[in-house]
């Protein structure tokens, strides 16, 4: 039986620096868990995931609440098209890590882009548009 991972990882080579760079402007005082989930959702929104190189623990799985677990589970179900994945926590976490790995780079590029308006203004607008499309 595969060992259940106790943590969620980011890419050791690139991600930590990216998280740090945009922390002040985007993540404010949000804990790492929240930063990771946001980056993961961002990657999912743009349909991009990337395999991690060297893994680097970012936060402990035990710190996740029901909402956080539900989010990464939902992502794993949507990604695999099967609830069976839920019996494999390592796989569920892997999917979350890959989306977060791609998402943090996209987010960094978005924050540092020279597009008009602050990141949050653009993000708010995007979110509204996406919500309208879904509802």
């Amino acid at each position: 039986m595969a060992k259940i991972p106790d943590r969620l990882n980011i890419d050791k080579k690139t991600d930590r620096e990216l998280y740090d760079k945009i922390k002040e402007e985007v993540f404010l005082e949000m804990p790492r868990k929240g930063q990771f989930l946001f980056a993961m959702a961002f990657g999912f929104m743009y349909g991009t995931k990337r395999e991690l190189g060297t893994k680097d623990g970012f936060f402990l799985a035990k710190d996740m609440g029901p909402r956080d677990e539900a989010l990464i589970n939902a992502l794993a179900v949507a990604e695999t098209g099967s609830v069976a994945v839920l019996s494999n926590r390592a796989r569920v976490y892997q999917i979350a890590e890959e989306y977060a790995h791609a998402g943090i780079r996209l987010l960094h590029d978005e924050v540092t882009s020279e597009e008009h308006g602050s990141f949050y203004k653009r993000f708010e607008r995007d979110i509204f548009e996406r919500l309208e499309g879904h509802m």
């Binding site: 985007v26 993540f27 404010l28 929240g34 999912f44 019996s87 996406r130 879904h134 509802m135």
Partner: protein, 684 residues
């Protein structure tokens, strides 16, 4: 040693003896200055200034930059006649009276003289030469030391005989020209005209009337002497009777207290009048100007408020961003969430969840061939039933439990996404509310900047501060007077009461009979003197008021605007507008100065001294069209009396030049030499 050249027998070469009509005005003889000789006097090393009267107007003009000795012409006249220099500038106060070049040319220990000679024409062929000479010893590197001063008067009568007078006799001739105690109404700075009816008006007028009436002589010579006699007689009576002495001592103590309070009241009233005048002056200066101090305070308050609002907006913005981060995560994953919920619902509909049988338990029973609940061995039929059950349960109970756990949070996330728009709008509204406050503050700050743009904020703030200071002083004087007036009344009552007691006691004392008769006589005489003084003051005040009004209406360039000029019984002056209201406080600087000039000329008239008038910077505080009008008034004054005017070039504007050039008998330009130690008066 250089000696001042003298002109003992009348005036030297070049003097045109013009036959002036010796107009008698209220017993006064028309007097004019014909020549002024300055020797080593301040900027003037050797200067002879003539005041020939060649035109209908006896008008003489000096134009000089500051530092060329313009005001020192005024000082030279004062020094020659009275021995002092009341109008010295700060720069001149630092310098010796002896000309700097003369000091440089003198060897260490050598002597030099400063001299001013004033030639006054007093009638047909009658002249007076006033001559003051001061000797100084010069020491290299130090201020010259004064060795002594002489003052002589050479009076030449119509027959050509000259008398040389000095001491008190000499001074008596000065008193015939312009007495020292009223010189301030003849030789003065134009600022005086500007301030005269703005500061301590009643005090100024009472002072002027008192001086012009020459009642100080009556007061000093008669009133005080009589009072001394009364006191000595009362003391004499006190020596006869201890009761009289006791009352007398108490009376004098009360009188002293009363006099102290009265003096304090007078000082406080003067302070109040000055403060009120200065407040008016600052109000006039500040009228039409922005309230910079108030605006500055508002700006400070707004900036502080803006910082608070920015912090509040920052906090609201932070909360909104946190909301976007939290809710945004759910919204971005919305498709995954919705899909997972759909799967959960499907499993629920199929009865796969919640899990009813534990799949691992069934698998274990099959593997071991034993029921995991009762421990009985499974037979073939039972094993087939368990296998069938396992096929029906496609989900592991672990997954099923996970799905059950997920459902509620996922539905909450969907709910959140549904309300996202409303929640985002509320968060934005909170930020906007503070942003609007900040925008309002910014707009007001910009308005304030526009309001004060182009103004000397520092100066205006200083004026506001000074006005506030004077308002504080004025308020304090009013509080003091509120206490002092009843105090004085009580002190007066105590004095009257003791005076009555003293009178009664003196009447009882037979031995004091003779003393009492003498004392009563002196008291009665004192009453007469005081009443005479008051009557004279009243009469002269009325005459000055009437004359001021005549002159003002004669000279004003605004005929029909004003109706009357009154010098009230409390010595306040009022200018009545043709519409019937008092308007002195609201007239222009030019009109106010015209009233002060009319008052000054009325004083000349009433004083009986038809002497020259000399005004330094006469129109400096008047601007625009009023300047030319006032220039024309001065030209008209010079038709009646010798008028000497000292201007700066800036003051001697085109308007003034237009009004005065053709009327002036002499015009001088004062120029400082390249070494800046000697000035010359060049004829224009």
């Amino acid at each position: 040693m250089k000696k001042l050249r003298t002109h003992q027998d009348g005036i030297g070469g070049g003097f045109t003896k013009r036959k002036l009509s010796s107009t008698q005005r209220d017993g006064g003889t028309k007097v004019r200055i014909e020549k002024l000789i300055l020797h080593n006097y301040r900027q003037f090393k050797e200067e002879e200034i003539w005041f020939h009267n060649t035109l209908d107007n006896d008008l003489h003009i000096f134009v000089g930059e500051n530092g060329t000795g313009k005001t020192n012409v005024l000082n030279a006249i004062n020094w020659c006649l009275y021995g002092d220099e009341p109008h010295l500038s700060r720069d001149s106060q630092q310098l010796p009276i002896l000309n700097l070049e003369a000091i440089e040319e003198t060897t260490d220990g050598g002597q030099q003289e400063v001299g001013v000679e004033l030639y006054a024409e007093t009638g047909t062929n009658a002249y007076i030469l006033f001559k003051r000479v001061a000797s100084y010893r010069v020491h290299g590197g130090h201020a010259p030391t004064h060795q002594g001063t002489t003052f002589e008067v050479h009076a030449t009568g119509e027959q050509g005989n000259t008398e040389i007078l000095s001491g008190e006799e000499g001074k008596s001739y000065v008193d015939r020209f312009v007495p020292e105690r009223i010189r301030e109404f003849f030789f003065f700075d134009g600022e005086r005209l500007d301030r005269y009816f703005r500061e301590a008006t009643a005090q100024n007028i009472r002072h002027a009337v008192f001086r012009i009436s020459q009642l100080d002589l009556l007061e000093n010579e008669v009133e005080r002497k009589l009072d001394t006699v009364v006191r000595s007689l009362e003391k004499e009576a006190g020596a006869l009777n201890p009761d009289i002495e006791s009352i007398r001592e108490r009376l004098y103590e009360e009188k002293r207290k009363h006099d102290e309070i009265a003096e304090q009241i007078e000082k406080t009233e003067a302070q109040a009048a000055v403060a009120k005048g200065r407040i008016g002056e600052y109000e006039e200066r500040l009228s039409g100007l922005p309230d910079v101090e108030g605006l500055e305070n508002e700006r400070k308050r707004l900036k502080a408020e803006k910082i608070i609002k920015e912090n509040q907006r920052g906090e609201k913005r932070r909360l909104k961003h946190l909301f976007l981060l939290e809710s945004g995560t759910g919204v971005m994953l919305y498709p995954a969430i919705v899909e997972t919920i759909r799967v959960i619902e499907e499993k629920e509909n199929r009865g796969e969840i919640p899990p009813t049988v534990d799949r691992s338990l069934l698998e274990k029973a099959l593997g071991e061939g034993t029921c995991q609940v009762c421990g009985r061995d499974l037979d073939d039929e039972s094993s087939a039933q368990v296998k069938e059950l396992l096929e029906r349960i496609s989900l592991s109970s672990e997954i099923a439990r996970e799905l059950v756990r997920m459902e509620a949070p996922l539905r909450q996330l969907v709910e959140q996404a549904t309300h996202f728009e409303d929640d985002a709008w509320r968060a934005t509204r909170d930020v906007r509310a503070f942003q609007e406050d900040i925008d309002r503050i910014d707009r007001r700050l910009a308005e304030i900047d526009r309001e004060v743009a182009g103004y000397d904020e520092e100066k205006i703030t200083e004026w506001h501060r000074e006005r506030k200071e004077f308002e504080g002083i004025y308020a304090q004087t009013q509080r003091d007077l509120g206490y002092l007036y009843p105090e004085e009344e009580r002190a007066k009552e105590r004095v009257d009461e003791l005076q009555e007691k003293l009178d009664a006691e003196m009447r009882k004392e037979e031995r004091a009979g003779e003393i009492r008769i003498r004392r009563d006589f002196c008291v009665a005489a004192l009453d007469v003197v005081r009443k005479t003084k008051q009557d004279n003051m009243r009469e002269i005040r009325q005459r000055i008021g009437a004359k001021t009004e005549d002159l003002f209406f004669d000279l004003t360039w605004k005929s029909g605007t004003f109706e009357a000029v009154n010098v009230e019984s409390d010595y306040n002056i009022s200018l009545i507008h043709s519409m019937g209201y008092e308007c002195l406080g609201s007239v222009s600087a030019g009109e106010r100065e015209l009233l002060a000039l009319s008052f000054t000329l009325a004083l000349h008239d009433v004083s009986g001294f038809d002497s020259p008038i000399l005004i330094d910077t006469p129109v400096a505080r008047i601007s625009g069209k009023h300047r030319e009008s006032f220039g024309s008034v001065l030209a008209r004054v010079s038709e009646e009396k010798q008028t000497i005017l000292l201007f700066t070039p800036a003051e001697y504007s085109e308007e003034i030049s237009r009004a005065l050039d053709d009327k002036a008998s002499t015009r001088y330009s004062l120029k400082l030499s390249s070494g800046e130690k000697v000035s010359n008066a060049e004829v224009l």
